[in-house]
């Protein structure tokens, strides 16, 4: 009886690990393949049978940097993502606070609306406006449109954080003579630091990943990394290694950042509907 049960248990364990390994393998394989491809030369990459064992080369990475102003694009992406995040925080934190404390549903709904509406709906009029103002290909154009990505993430994530800050603490501060604004800056903000960091990283990651707005609104002065990479792919004349190296370079920074805030990612992406 016990032996049978033990056997059943170990069979169950076997299938559990089997399934887990299968899932992890499926999720990681494209990343693995991307890295392998980026380290192989063109001959190995165009071999009919995949080459698994080879002496890695950094040539692809070197060519990406040498031929394609990759550093400049990285810088553009960085500037735009940082500004969109920073401005998003400055605008978003106070708004999230009053939404949390005063249940400002209309505003909350408007932000949800921005998240749901297809981005291209905004893009056409924006392009028309920036064209009129001669501001296409400026940081201003990119940052202000990227706010549409960062602001909803920040506000919705911060609402849930501010909800969790005990109101007693603010009341106590008010008894000590502090105004509400002071209480916000002195008590609420410091207590929510982990949340603010999470919101900032999340906003940064999704600004970094943004493709559509930058595709149209960036130009030679502001082209971001995803657009630059898209702009040098043709599946016709394939430079597998170079493409893979570029893919690694775009996505590695965000993957690393994401690991720091894993607990909050789902919460941020579900507009606070689910707590991770």
């Amino acid at each position: 009886m016990t032996a049978q049960r033990r056997l059943r248990k170990s069979i169950r364990t076997f299938w559990l690990y089997f399934a887990l390994i299968a899932i992890v393998a499926a999720l990681l394989f494209p990343f693995l393949w991307m890295i392998l491809t980026s380290l192989r030369n063109q001959v190995q990459n165009t071999s009919a049978v995949p080459v698994w064992i080879f002496s890695p080369t950094l040539t692809n990475y070197r060519s990406v940097f040498e031929q394609h102003h990759f550093l400049a694009y990285t810088w553009h992406s960085f500037v735009v993502a940082v500004l969109a995040t920073g401005i998003g925080l400055v605008i978003g934190l106070p708004a999230a606070y009053t939404i949390s404390r005063y249940r400002q549903r209309g505003l909350a709904f408007a932000i949800l609306f921005a998240r749901i509406t297809p981005y291209i709906t905004f893009l056409v009029p924006w392009f028309a406006a920036f064209r009129f103002l001669h501001m296409v290909d400026t940081y201003t154009a990119l940052v202000s449109t990227f706010l549409i990505v960062s602001l909803p993430l920040i506000i919705w994530l911060m609402i849930t954080f501010f909800d969790d800050v005990p109101i007693d603490l603010e009341e106590a501060a008010k008894v000590d003579g502090a105004g509400e604004a002071e209480a916000f800056f002195r008590i609420v903000i410091p207590l929510s630091t982990p949340g603010i960091v999470a919101a900032a990283i999340l906003a940064f990651v999704f600004s970094w990943n943004q493709f559509l707005f930058a595709l149209i609104l960036s130009g030679s002065n502001t082209q971001t990394v995803p657009v630059a990479v898209f702009n040098f792919i043709t599946y016709g004349e394939i430079n597998y290694g170079g493409l893979a190296a570029a893919a690694v370079l775009i996505t590695l920074p965000v993957l690393v950042l994401a690991l720091f805030i894993q607990r909050w990612i789902v919460q941020g992406l579900t507009m606070g509907a689910v707590k991770g």
Partner: protein, 292 residues
């Protein structure tokens, strides 16, 4: 107690004011402008001169076979991606809810696909799906299956891009459901076991109904985003071959930035927005009814 400063007294509206302005300028303004454009014949340049044509763009859209095909591709893509993601996501969530070695590490790894830059994701899947040299066809061959054309085939292109979407977003579904699973009370689960219910009965009768709200949220969010999918499709196929993967989003993009038909594109976007917002509203009302 009297609150001192002007800011304290007016905090209710001063604090959200910048956000309100941002939303007016960045969201409300463009949406209204878009509505206006949709009633005009207009291009980007000074030529042809913009003029009002009433609902002409909408009428042309409804007579345009490419519009209907785009609506079809959009629904087809969503109808493949979302159900597969939901079922797989549930399975993954149930697995991750077990106890196993290196649980924390696995949970971190699961996050990576949805955080990775979509352009990079599309790029690498594009390489893997290459019919001649791609590794996926190599795997098919190892399994004794025929090689297929993946995203270069008019019939397989939507399933192919949906596969990429499934890879990218199944973890998202799984993590939402996992959060719900973890909040279930142990007593109820155990009670069900004692009643002699087997694993499947427990799943269908107890677990799924209990995490149903989370599943609904996940499905709503994914449906909305799947309808709007742009990056992966545009990078991998630009809507091709022909118009086989041209969703409404892609067609609107091409109409405005390649064919320069801004008025027409605006009308397509209004239709798209109505579909997406309509589905969101429908789900919202439906779930609200259920909560009562």
């Amino acid at each position: 107690m009297l609150q001192g400063t002007w800011l304290d007294r007016n905090l209710r509206w001063v604090f959200p004011l910048p956000a309100v302005i941002a939303i007016l300028v960045l969201v409300v303004g463009p949406v209204l402008t878009n509505l206006l454009f949709s009633l005009q014949s207009r291009s980007w340049g000074i030529f042809p001169v913009p003029h009002f044509i009433g609902f002409g763009n909408y009428l042309s859209a409804f007579k345009d076979s490419r519009f209907w095909s785009a609506v079809g591709e959009m629904l087809y893509f969503t109808a493949i991606a979302v159900p597969v993601e939901t079922l797989l996501g549930l399975a993954v969530a149930l697995l991750l809810n077990q106890d196993f070695f290196l649980k924390g590490v696995v949970r971190s790894l699961v996050l990576l696909p949805m955080i990775a830059t979509p352009v990079a994701v599309a790029l690498i899947w594009g390489l893997m799906m290459n019919p001649e040299l791609g590794v996926l066809n190599y795997f098919l061959q190892l399994l004794g299956l025929p090689r297929i054309l993946w995203d270069t085939s008019p019939t397989l292109v939507i399933p192919s891009v949906a596969l990429v979407d499934v890879w990218e977003w199944t973890p998202f579904m799984a993590l939402i459901m996992l959060a719900a699973l973890q909040s279930l009370s142990q007593e109820q689960l155990e009670a069900a076991t004692i009643d002699g219910a087997n694993w499947w009965q427990r799943l269908v009768r107890i677990i799924i109904p209990m995490i149903r709200p989370a599943i609904v949220v996940a499905v709503i969010l994914r449906t909305i985003d799947a309808l709007k999918t742009f990056d992966i499709i545009y990078v991998m196929t630009q809507g091709g071959p022909g118009t086989a993967s041209e969703t409404l989003n892609i067609y609107a993009f091409k109409s405005s930035f390649l064919y320069l038909r801004i008025g027409y594109a605006a009308s397509l976007l209004v239709v798209l927005a109505v579909i997406v917002l309509g589905i969101a509203a429908f789900f919202n009302i439906w779930t609200r009814g259920e909560r009562k």
